[in-house]
């Protein structure tokens, strides 16, 4: 089997198949997953599955918040994650970019494992901070509030990461930043300090800042929940524009309207498990499970 050296964190994979040094070894599940993905990659010629969550469990002390989540997000998908409080939506999102460490289960970003790597003996070991940070650059995240740093201007906020993390020269970073600020309609506020901006404008700056790293997937953790009702519209408009442009998005939200109109798929989480998953029509209008139906009847009046 031809396994090229370039594929991901399994350089030892090459050694497995050399003829002279054949050692008998048991193929672990991680190997099978990786080999599968390599085969897919070779056949598809592109990484289609941007985020893949496999059997994710998360305990906070004794409390099991996530009880086995499986999710696949393909490129260009807009996935809305709905559910009542405490169902584990935010935790799942934070596990994707390793802000929370999964207790068990795996997460793959564009085929690369997040937060762990498989060493030469086939065991799962925690990954170095450097590689975690590198992989985090492929994921953009917008939080519920207090996103924007108050001691820098809007433009300063947006170019901070490209300049200091990706080491892009500031001229180029400025151009990228202005392009994304244009996209969220905030180009006229580029030199203002965040203290002068409204909540909706701050969230849009947060979106532009996350976009400036040009990530493969954008995560939104209830971006409009902390906003005044009149400011929600501008943020949803910006997110809708992103969806039209083909950004891969995973949105945890309570805005059912947004979920219905903009998303390709809706995932309903209940008690740490994926209760229902499907197109908006299936999940929101014709839910199958009882809990799901209760939830939407309350939300939609």
């Amino acid at each position: 089997m031809i396994v090229s050296r370039q594929y991901g964190p399994f350089p030892q994979g090459v050694r497995f198949f050399k003829n002279d040094n054949c050692r008998s070894l048991t193929l672990k599940r991680y190997h099978l997953v990786a080999i599968n993905q390599m085969a897919e990659k070779i056949s598809n010629n592109k990484v289609d599955v941007v985020v893949k969550i496999v059997n994710l469990h998360k305990y906070f002390g004794k409390l099991e918040v996530l009880k086995g989540i499986d999710l696949e997000v393909h490129q260009g998908d807009v996935v809305s994650v709905l559910g009542s409080s405490g169902s584990g939506k935010s935790t799942m999102l934070r596990c994707i970019n390793y802000l929370e460490q999964p207790t068990s289960g795996e997460i793959y970003i564009s085929g690369r494992p997040m937060g762990f790597r498989v060493d030469s003996k086939g065991r799962k070991v925690p990954d170095s901070h450097k590689s975690i940070n590198k992989l985090r650059q492929e994921i953009g995240m917008v939080f519920q509030q207090f996103n924007i740093w108050p001691h820098m201007t809007v433009l300063g906020n947006v170019i901070e990461a490209p300049v200091h993390v990706k080491k892009i020269p500031s001229q180029e970073a400025n151009e990228i930043a202005l392009a994304f600020l244009e996209k969220v309609n905030l180009i006229d506020k580029k030199d203002e300090f965040p203290v002068r901006l409204s909540g909706g404008q701050l969230q849009r700056v947060a979106i532009a800042r996350a976009l400036s790293m040009q990530p493969k997937v954008m995560l939104f953790d209830e971006p409009t929940s902390a906003l005044d009702p009149e400011l929600i519209g501008e943020v949803l408009e910006a997110m809708k524009q992103l969806a039209i442009d083909g950004t891969t998005m995973i949105v945890v939200t309570h805005e059912i309207g947004f979920a219905k109109e903009v998303s390709d798929r809706v995932v309903f989480l209940n008690n740490g498990l994926v209760e229902e998953e499907g197109t908006p029509n299936e999940v929101i209008l014709n839910p199958k499970s009882e809990r799901c139906r209760q939830f939407f009847s309350k939300m939609l009046h």
Partner: protein, 234 residues
């Protein structure tokens, strides 16, 4: 009301005659203030990091230190540091120890105020919302980068007014060092009084000088904090 006698007693030329001594006394005040301030800020930084750590042992060491030095009166610490501590060290280490007054003054005041500074620094760092830090991590910034570019600038702005107020308290406390014979302003004035036997003008002038200095600095600090508050930073 005997106003003529009063004007005879308040003797301005006397004060002018001793201006050299007054100035040298004040220099000692500032000297102790600078060194003790340096020690207090350094120790305070370190202790605040202990207080913020995730390790329970480090946290309790930090808490013990802060509680000890915030609750002990500065004068008691001063006297203990000058008279008792050298004796303790001599007995323990079998080597004659003698602290000069300035050394014990700097050590005692520095450690006393490091407790206050540690609390101020800790509060400044904890006042930063967690999401600011998490959004730095989410963008792929390393912990050091987040500390340098996001936590430090914000924390310094947050705690600067309070820190400056603590410095003014420290300056006020430097007058205590006269009691262990550091030749500061008050000590010089006491010596002069013993010679001149004219307590009213001498002590009053010392008091007025201290008051004017401290009032001047506190007004500066207030104006500075106000400017920052209106700019929307503090």
């Amino acid at each position: 009301m005997n106003l003529e006698n009063l004007t005879k007693i308040i003797d301005i030329p006397l004060f002018w005659e001793y201006r050299q001594t007054y100035i040298s006394g004040l220099i000692y005040n500032f000297y102790v203030f600078a060194l003790a301030g340096l020690l207090a800020v350094t120790a305070g930084c370190f202790i605040s990091l202990l207080r913020l750590s995730r390790n329970r042992i480090y946290r309790s060491i930090g808490t013990f230190y802060v509680e000890l030095f915030r609750n002990a009166p500065e004068y008691v610490l001063l006297v203990w540091m000058h008279y008792v501590f050298p004796l303790l060290l001599t007995v323990l280490l079998n080597h004659k120890f003698n602290f000069s007054p300035i050394l014990s003054a700097v050590l005692a005041l520095g450690m006393a105020y490091s407790g206050y500074f540690a609390e101020t620094f800790r509060a400044g760092i904890q006042a930063i919302p967690k999401t600011h830090i998490e959004s730095g991590w989410a963008l792929g910034m390393s912990k050091f980068l987040v500390m340098r570019r996001i936590i430090f600038p914000q924390a310094v702005r947050q705690m600067l007014p309070e820190t400056l107020n603590q410095f003014i308290s420290l300056f006020k406390a430097t007058t205590l060092v006269s009691l262990i014979s550091v030749p500061d302003l008050l000590y010089q004035v006491t010596i002069i009084t013993q010679q001149e036997m004219r307590p009213l003008p001498l002590y009053s002038s010392a008091a007025i000088i201290y008051f004017v200095l401290i009032f001047f600095f506190s007004t500066l600090v207030d104006m500075f904090s106000e400017k920052w508050r209106t700019r929307g930073m503090a």
